[in-house]
Symmetry: C3
Subunit: 351 residues, 3 copies
């Protein structure tokens, strides 16, 4: 069970690096909540101007607001980014101190495994031969770490995960339940009517500070590696195919997928259920909107939509007309009729 | 191995609450099958008028038919809903009596766990501290129940499932293999070029009589709960994001997804591979057809299609014209040419 | 750790059944790589003419080229299909000899299980009563085999897989991590406002040489079987619904899905994120392109695109016009205006 903490408003202001106004610094705060849900004793925050009406009704005992905002109803802390402050406050009230469980006697640890300090290996974990587990790593039950794989320090691997052989996971990586890292790429060569499996002998490299969602699958390279670069976050049920290279600080939403040998730059956003075809190169800062499919290379900074994807602006304009198609077809037919009649009249006029 | 049962036609009629015609109640029936597959000694059923031709050829020894239907070829049982009767007959012939296995010595049970009566805990199950397991619950191997979670009575949790900490699962819930309940929501705040994880400290509430498909993922709330209300059935490989609220008696087909903070009313149908964007409210009795994407609120009773979704009727009409687009473009060019020529002629006519 | 092998070029030529040119057969080769990555001591291959420029710069010590190609820069082996040769070379350099692990003492084996010879059952495997495990089968940790199921010889089942009761898996089948075979089909009958579960009492039959991707789900038949025929390869995160029948030698790419009772012929290709609606019959040699949705039967040999799917050629033509829709609408309005004006003028002309 989690322990509740109480923290003074002054301490909170110091943690957030913000300016305390309207208030006594000695008020005790026990949690952070949304403006509508917050109760007495809790602090809330204004993430966006559209919630301004909520801030006048909130029961919170204090609020975090943007630096430039005038406000006098409640004790408040002024910061640059109240939403970032919300995230900091969640850590403040909810983080539990890490205490290493050690290695459960019901875990299986292979030969020649290098185990870091202060690790937490739950029962029913399988760690293959020659693998390396960094310091402060937590591995939950029913998770399989294959031979010759590396898990960097401070990483957390939830239950029912598989990291197959020869994969390298960085530090501070979070892998959620049921994710599969290093499954075979989908590679066959069809010869005389039979699909022959191409052995998938490459690996997967996941850099530091990456997060991998539940039941997401990341295939190993055929030869060479599938790579996910530092700071990238990928959501649930995503497919990352063999030899894909994903840049730094990307965000991929649930059920998106990227096919074999495709690459992305940094800060790429793939929205839910979107896709990238194989051998496609996506630039930096590209946004692929929900359900869209990129079938060709996309330049830095573009936002694309549709299947096949096109400029988002063009797509919006065309979709705005899409509902008018039946009417447009009728109008064309009407024009043809009128013109036919005009022709007839005109021909009659001719001497 | 399952035991075969033999049941008299009279007993079957009584179970179904139907009227037996053309027949002797003492015929012994051993199974239920489709009209084409049924063999002598089996009973079949007419689910829809389009299968009428099959009923004249079936080898079944008896059939279940709608109340108002005339039929004399075989012993028959008349009921309101023959398809519902099919489901009842499958239960009748295939349900095995529940017998509790108890708790396997190879299961891990944490501290302060409350275990109900007559439970079946297979080997290699992990049950975290302070959790509550109701009466008659079955948990298959390699399933993880986190701390402070509750599994209601008569629920069945198949293998390789994760129910993370602080989740509440109702009674008579079925969770299929590989499903993940309570994974972290996909929440980050980007601050100075880095995506900072927003701690996901909420939970998941799954009410009574819900069914969750294989490898489906249901994220916990950021704060507050992700909720799936009673009687809702969700299929395989579905994403339910953080703080989503799904109404009662909904049906979500495979590979559909609903993004963060969206809500649905009751009796909503999401067809396969459909999606709902974040912060969208879907009314009661809405149908979202296959591969469609709802990006805006949808009113009660609407059926929508397309991406972005629109009225299904409008979408059908526009899609009917879609194939004609190249021809429509040609006809417009042709009209322009004719009008240009007419203008020329007309100008020549002018004095 | 894998052992490196060194093999002479002459031996390689013999293995591939190819003709060695420009070279001494005694050169020792230690690996196969792409033209760009290959180093001295490695062999590479020309999979497609578009890589011709790479073959002049490669550091490989030898290359595999098509039979009819002239080439004299390096020792080369001429074969019919260099890509197939690549696959053979990967086997040659990377396959490890199989050596049976036996049955780990931490595996659970039920009653009356028939175990083949030379099997490898890792720790934390669950094998249910009355199941049959063929010769040379490998089952990785956290995998569940249900009662009365059969795993054919030489099959490999990776970690965290579930094969539920009464499923039949053929020989040389590979099932990747997290896949679920035999989960309940999504079948309900709605009666008086409640969705009643239809018991799913059928099974799954997977024939020889099938490969099932990571976290893919294959539901059991309601009655009768869901069937995947020999040589078919299905990728990650795919949904195969109850009573589906998939033909031989099909290729389904990641995140595709096929709904209840649908069937496909042989050599069908479903590209990524594509779908087939329920009760649809797909012919032989059909290609369903990425993100497309087949809602009606499709004849042998067709390639279809779009949602709902249509002929790929028609779809390409219509999509080429899609971006012009706003302009087309304007041109129609312009034509109407011109015609209205012409009418006016014409009316004025009339006597």
């Amino acid at each position: 069970m989690k322990q509740k903490r109480e923290i003074t408003l002054a301490e909170i202001a110091a943690t957030l690096g913000g300016e305390l106004i309207n208030g006594r610094g000695d008020i005790l705060i026990s949690n952070v909540s949304g403006l509508r849900d917050a109760k007495t004793g809790e602090i809330s925050f204004l993430a966006h101007r559209r919630y301004l009406k909520d801030i006048d009704k909130t029961s919170a005992s204090a609020v975090v607001i943007p630096k430039d905002m005038a406000f006098d109803r409640l004790p408040a802390i002024k910061v640059d980014n109240p939403y970032f402050a919300f995230s900091q406050l969640l850590h403040l009230f909810h983080d539990q101190p890490y205490s290493a469980r050690g290695i459960d006697s019901n875990a299986f640890v292979g030969n020649n495994v290098e185990l870091g300090e202060d690790i937490s290996i739950y029962p029913y974990v399988y760690i293959g031969n020659n693998s390396i587990i960094g310091n402060n790593v937590t591995i939950y039950p029913f998770t399989f770490i294959g031979e010759d794989s590396i898990i960097g320090s401070n990483s957390v691997i939830y239950s029912n995960v598989t990291v197959r052989e020869m994969c390298r996971i960085g530090s501070r990586v979070i892998i959620h339940c049921g994710a599969v890292i290093g499954s075979d790429g989908f590679g066959y060569v069809t010869h005389q009517g039979t699909h022959h499996k191409i052995p998938q002998v490459g690996g997967v490299v996941i850099e530091d500070d990456v997060e991998v969602g539940a039941n997401t699958t990341i295939d190993r390279g055929t030869t060479g590696n599938t790579i996910i670069r530092k700071g990238t976050k990928i959501d649930n049920l995503i497919q990352v195919a063999h030899n894909v290279s994903i840049g730094e600080h990307c965000l991929f939403a649930a059920q998106s997928g990227i096919a074999g040998s495709s690459t992305t730059g940094n800060y790429v956003i793939m929205a839910g259920q979107s896709g990238v075809a194989d051998h496609v190169n996506i630039g930096n800062n590209v946004i692929i909107t929900g359900k869209s499919g990129a079938t060709k290379d996309i330049k830095d900074g573009e936002t694309v939509s549709g299947m096949p994807s096109m400029s988002h602006r063009k797509w919006l304009k065309s979709m705005a007309v899409f509902e008018d198609l039946p009417e447009m077809k009728k109008r064309i037919a009407e024009l043809e009729k009128r013109l036919d009649e005009a022709d007839k009249l005109f021909n009659n006029l001719k001497p």
